[in-house]
Amino acid sequence: MAFFSELKKLFTGNSAARLPQKLTERDCIERESAIGRDLFGPIPAGHTREFFCLDEKTWVWHEEWRDENNTPQMSTTRYEVQSGRILKVQPGRVYKYLEGEELENLALAVHLYYERAMREVYKFDPVSGQPIRTTPATIYS
């Protein structure tokens, strides 16, 4: 019987492996986060950085690194969207409403994240809202 099942695989292939893998929300966030961490330039050696949109109300900035004693450190900052305001939440119950330069810088990062995620992950033009279609290069004679 094993022979026949192997023979069948020869003709049909391993169907489980060939099934397209379904995309999940986590996949989307991971791919967006790859863009988010790039927005801020080179990551210092030994640092791990994530910046991503968690859900409709939350942006997350997470950093991990080792201090001078080689002790692992980490910090997670959440930016929560509230009505007409953005609340920054940091470890140790530190809360602050963003304003001024800090708010504008966050907006700038979000703007770039959004534009790049739309183009690079989802292949949608963020301005027109239309899918980006790859067309063959035009050759002029």
Partner: protein
């Protein structure tokens, strides 16, 4: 590469939006192309925390970024380092505040809508190829 399908209007929790509806117009004058990828820095969000993590050098990045942002919205009226910043009228400050909050507020909703669309219509391979 992706399934050919009419792009739907997706209903978000509060209203109907098209995936990719521009946030850009709410941040006029500031275009991604004006800022090279990688020119931002982690410390741009918070100077105090930034100094703790990355040292004083990072302040330069922060100032640089601030100048990029200001130049983009002030018709390239460059600020010379060391020169006092011109005072910004309160109306303009309020307008800038609202614009910034609007971007930070609207983008997640649209990304979530886009994710739902992608989950329904794309496979992992589609997104990997796209990246």
């Amino acid at each position: 590469m992706f399934p050919k399908r009419q792009q739907p209007t997706i209903t978000a929790s509060t209203r109907s939006v098209i995936p990719g509806e521009p946030v850009s117009e709410y941040y006029e004058g500031l275009r991604a192309s004006q800022i090279e990828a990688g020119s931002l820095h982690a410390g741009t969000f918070d100077l105090e925390r930034d100094d703790e993590l990355f040292g004083v050098q990072n302040e330069a990045y922060v100032r640089g970024l601030s100048r990029v942002a200001e130049n983009s919205s002030n018709n390239n009226d460059y600020i010379v380092p060391g020169q006092a910043k011109p005072e910004v009228p309160e109306d303009e400050l309020n307008e800038r505040y609202e614009r910034a909050v609007d971007i930070v507020t609207r983008a997640p909703g649209q990304l979530v809508v886009m994710r739902r669309y992608a989950i329904e219509n794309y496979t992992k391979r589609d997104v990997d190829l796209a990246a």
